[in-house]
Symmetry: C2
């Protein structure tokens, strides 16, 4: 495999010296970009996911437009339940809907066993095209939802304010919940292994709804399955990133799961987390996504604050604390990337010197 | 003033010995109760808030039905912006809507200065009736939203997923945000002082949206105003409870604001918080509201877990980690109250002995 022209992201994941802090943006291939919306006008969302040429095109857009240091394959976490036979509708602005949610043992029995390398081949083909067109400019990240986060959607059937139905399931049918979570873990491990085999340089597990669980429920119904996945993924030295939004209470336990990088939302103090974890893992984040509604001065202030908070040395991948919002101006996203590149150098000169010596 | 027949709640707020852990439930006067829905069928939500006899009636319902140890005056946090001249519509299920949200200096200038003892006299009259009809059975709690939480609604005009507009205001018009927050603080301090003067035995500040702010934005745009309110409230020994949902990062700072009781959502570890705060304040919470969808066995397990986690001695007020959900069965709410009463005694016998000696 040819050498990457820009491997800052991968080096930071491994806490190896870098010249500056790398940056990518969660949901960087998204609606805030007019170039994305132009493609989206021609296809519905799921068709975009399922058409490798189109998925590759929007995956590469932010590399060209923003100059971020990593690409993340355009897709959706719900392609897995869909491949299991759940009928998925995407309503832009309103979110995804499953009309046949999983509520009982019989619903679970209706889920189809599938081989991700077969039924989700369109994702792997998108990787092949993306890798070719990226031409080793930056690494490519593949992703999946966590089993718990997928379960939330599969049981609720749509987004929810209080997640009453999935909570009811873990409290009253814990065995059923564990069976589904276990099945999802197996599929996700195969899926992420295939993504790596097809060329992804890193994978991220999005645990969007981990934060709605209590401390002990998170361990029992969420983290144990993330751990199982990480232990099962076939990889050489491709890093695994775990982003569990809102899970302020179990960061140390997430580290024990084997993740190489922990994503932090914007309520976390990156300085304290780094100190508490003694640099055992790299950290990703943690700018409040709404800061991109502010002006350049405010964006710079916040970038500097986070860079200073993390401090000197490698092991930080700059990112937002959640996905970029659809009505952010692309100019402000560009500004963010430029400022991180400008302001982060001074936090790495010791690294570069260490590397030279 | 006559002596309360059950003052467990007030004693726990002051960390004085109790025979068992007191319990009340956030939003206990609410839609999950058929008795509440029967009243609600006759009046719209705001009419209920504004009709003292009706507000008093639904305030007392959970005392009779559930046997909780405190009443909380039925009202809504948005009566304050409404009294400032904002047109409020309540859509049950969909939430509140302001059709004239505050986005600019001119909107702020249109806000009316008002005296809560005049324009919100209906709230104070409801207190008078409630106190009379409660006949000193249990204490009465009065409440307000925090300035930040009210600002969120006033700027967004409704509930929001990402609170982009209010965030944009604090980032791009911080002076305007501070002006509104300061005005709200003054009004809220007067409002809570009047509630105490009219007979409330404690007050709670609901900071529902504190958790969407970063650690430093919470200090600058939220906590400073809560602190200002607490310092300005005219009270004898009526406790102030601060419940800042999702604010895991600044619990110690909330304590410094002068609160007597800190509310904890269900993602917090009550044992760790108690230890970290060295019993400087009482703690309220922290059962996951969705546990009330489970069966009695699970409810008992979770109640015992939280009681054990808090440990021996006074200073804990049992409650949910957020409001009770509208589709909970009233039987399960009754079960919760009964179980807390049954299971909490053993955590207090040392107290009672200390009291005797």
């Amino acid at each position: 495999m040819a050498k990457l022209k820009n491997d800052l992201f991968l080096r930071a994941c491994k806490r190896l010296p870098v010249e500056r802090t790398p940056i990518w943006i969660m949901r960087q291939a998204g609606r805030y970009l007019p170039e994305y919306r132009a493609v989206r006008e021609k296809y519905d969302f799921l068709t975009m996911c399922k058409t490798p040429q189109v998925a590759a095109e929007v995956t590469i857009q932010p590399i060209d437009i923003l100059g971020v240091d990593a690409a993340i394959l355009f897709s959706d976490i719900l392609v897995i339940p869909e491949a299991m036979g759940m009928y998925l509708e995407m309503h832009e602005g309103k979110g995804p809907v499953f009309n046949n949610p999983i509520r009982a043992e019989s619903d679970f029995n209706n889920l189809i066993d599938f081989d991700p390398t077969d039924k989700l081949k369109y994702v792997l083909d998108a990787i092949t095209i993306t890798k070719k067109n990226l031409d080793n400019r930056v690494p490519l990240i593949g992703f999946s939802g966590s089993p718990w986060t997928l379960l939330c959607y599969m049981v609720e059937g749509k987004g929810s304010k209080d997640f009453a139905l999935v909570k009811k399931m873990i409290y009253t049918q814990p065995d059923l919940a564990h069976k589904i979570l276990d099945k999802l873990s197996d599929v996700i491990a195969k899926y992420l292994s295939a993504k790596i085999e097809y060329g992804c340089n890193a994978v991220q597990i999005f645990d969007t709804w981990g934060g709605i669980l209590s401390q002990q429920d998170f361990l029992e119904f969420d983290l144990i399955y993330i751990q199982k996945i990480i232990q099962s993924i076939k990889r050489k030295d491709e890093p695994v990133i775990v982003f569990a939004k809102g899970v302020h209470h179990n960061i140390d336990k997430i580290v024990e799961s084997g993740a190489d990088v922990i994503g932090l939302d914007w309520t976390m103090n990156i300085s304290e987390v780094r100190k508490n974890l003694s640099d055992k893992v790299a950290l990703q984040g943690n700018l409040d996504p709404t800061v991109l509604f502010a002006d350049e001065l405010k964006i710079r202030t916040e970038v500097k604050r986070i860079l200073e908070s993390y401090g000197y040395g490698s092991g930080h991948i700059f990112n937002l604390g959640h996905g970029i919002l659809p009505n952010v101006s692309p100019e402000n996203a560009k500004t963010l990337v430029r400022i991180v590149k400008e302001e982060s150098k001074i936090f790495h000169h010791r690294d570069t010197e260490a590397q030279r010596s």
